[in-house]
Symmetry: C2
């Protein structure tokens, strides 16, 4: 019997209303709803091939050409959920191959350096879940699949959609209503752009999983954020997106990034993700926005900046960024006139990208006929 | 008629429960109560001579040998209050010289560089108010005088006492109950020490007066702090001081510093006072405290660190600080064995000091017989 396989790509998403805090650690249920923008897979994506065969002896994963364990509780939970759905299909149609009982070989590659700290786990889990779902020919909607991805990595649920995505926190204890939904598709606002400034930092502070637990347990301000501030912003941000009101969207995005980092600082011991370079980037964006808001910064659990803007303001926004970072890689031939004498140190590269679509099936496969990773050619 | 004069010194105080936010800008009424430690005047003090004479043509001030304006609303409010109290005395005893109608010459000097960003305005206003009160022979208590100092610079009210001082926010709209009181005198815990790490920063962020207004107006987390967190901490910190419970005192101090900076970051646009050097100092103190809390960091509206510890832990605390800052000035001959190969950059000097007493009358005068500043000898 031959090997069955399916290949997909999935995008990175960057939250504009931040997910920080779990109310259930096993199920990855968040303390608050969140919103993100999906980035273009031209620049940032995970490509994953999932294959199944009765000849495979065990579940195996290769990540960026290295064998990795699938034996983590989170990944196991995802695979168990997917196999259970496949089993339902098989039970209703005895003609189907009993793939739910077969072992899986999964090969996954990012087209960007994992070390850049660019939320690769979100794209990774979204691609994993979507590839296996396609392999299993599951009929479930993206929102249904998002609940499975959520168990792998919370923010992965948002990478099941393109455009603007909301992760509704839900209220059920079993997580059955904690899921991603589309706020607006890519086509609603295709001119939205993102410039990522990759900030090099000697050491990263606390990993996000333990960091968010620390915040939940020790920040006296955190309750206010999740009870009062985020629910209000969640509605306001969705409205701003639907209305394509960039200034409002940007203000909420910047405020929410700041507040997330404020609750990190209010944790005990305090967690710092922003450094002096991040701080200078914030001031730079304030400078860009001096005559009207055309750019929005946001920072995840690390010092990298993502700056959103609309294509029509490109020369203004990128021109000002270029001034202070003209010397780094990633401008792809773009040039602007002004270069400041004193460049801002601490940024290793810029990634120019844009809003993008959701996961896609692809004909590019990473697995050969023997069910093993093809050579390292695409890395 | 000869010139009358009085000279006093007043101390710097460093808040352990932070004052940040005014509910009345004119009266300097705070949004929350605060607590501070008064530092020793051996190391940090303002010396002020106040003189009055019917021959003086106008109120005049010299600050660190430079003429400065007394014509600010805050200083005028302080002088008006003091003159009103003097006038009451004169009205009850016609023998008294009518100093309330005479102009004042005031000369003031710090024994530390003003530019170091060390809350010099608190010591300055406390010394000004106390010197004029002594000149006027006012019978008012230090708590009564603290209300006048408060109008000059909020935190100045706490410099009217030594030891541990509480500024009770009060509830009256006229500010009549917003005043400083002693929590415990110097003698209660004389072994408390403070190491100040003066952090050099290119540019200071927002001045504190406008910064705190911005936080009050824009931080969504700020209300939680002042309504819920600070009232609880105010009681807990007073208890920890009375019990000489250093670990508890330290934890509250560090948490409150972090939370103050968190509300700054939650302001819009965000305010940053901590920089990467401050952040490394926080990590260093965490390292010192790994086996038990013996040191407490706190940061005001700037990157300078003040680290409190008890004398008995000096070798542990200073030894660890010395490791990373052995090359800077201010160790006064103190030496420790370990010096790290990689020193932490960004600190220009260390000031080793301790808890200290309140304002004092001194025989040292800064004004000559003509009512003018003596030569620059003491600078």
């Amino acid at each position: 019997m031959s090997i069955r396989q399916a290949s997909v790509t999935a995008p990175v998403n960057i939250a504009t209303l931040k997910y920080w805090g779990k109310r259930d650690k096993n199920l990855n249920l968040p303390t608050n709803s969140s919103i993100s923008v999906t980035l273009s897979q031209r620049d940032l994506r995970t490509l994953t091939t999932a294959s199944a065969s009765p000849t495979f002896a065990e579940d195996k994963l290769w990540l960026n050409n290295k064998p990795e364990s699938l034996d983590t509780p989170r990944t196991q939970a995802c695979l168990a959920d997917l196999r259970a759905l496949r089993l339902q299909l098989e039970e209703s149609d005895p003609q189907l191959a009993p793939m739910s009982t077969w072992k899986l070989h999964i090969v996954s590659e990012n087209n960007f350096p994992t070390a850049a700290g660019l939320a690769s786990s979100a794209a990774g889990f979204a691609a994993l879940i979507y590839a296996v779902a396609k392999l299993y020919e599951l009929p479930q909607s993206h929102t249904e699949l998002s609940k499975i991805a959520r168990r792998g990595s919370g923010s992965a649920c948002r990478s099941l959609f393109g455009g603007f995505v909301a992760w509704e926190m839900g209220s059920q204890t079993d997580g059955s209503d904690s899921q991603a939904v589309e706020v607006a598709p890519l086509e609603h606002w295709p001119s939205l752009r993102a410039a990522i400034l990759v900030v090099s930092d000697a050491k990263k502070d606390t990993p996000s999983t333990s960091g968010m637990q620390l915040t939940v347990q020790t920040s006296d301000l955190f309750q206010r954020r999740i009870e009062d501030v985020v629910p209000r912003r969640f509605d306001e941000m969705k409205k701003a997106i639907v209305a394509k009101d960039f200034a409002k969207f940007a203000e909420l995005t910047m405020k929410d990034s700041n507040q997330f980092h404020a609750t990190c600082l209010d944790s005990y011991p305090p967690i710092f993700y922003l450094n002096d370079t991040s701080r200078r980037i914030i001031k730079l964006v304030e400078q860009v926005n001096a005559d009207g808001v055309v750019a929005a910064y946001t920072f995840d659990a690390g010092p990298n900046a993502v700056i959103y803007y609309d294509e029509k303001d490109e020369s203004k926004v990128l021109g000002e960024i270029y001034k202070y970072f003209s010397g780094v890689d990633g401008w792809n031939g773009k040039k602007f006139d002004d270069v400041a004498e004193e460049q801002i140190p601490g940024v290793s590269r810029v990634i120019l990208t844009s809003i993008g679509g959701g996961p896609q099936v692809t004909s590019e496969s990473l697995i050969d006929e023997a069910g093993l990773p093809k050579s390292a050619k695409s890395v």
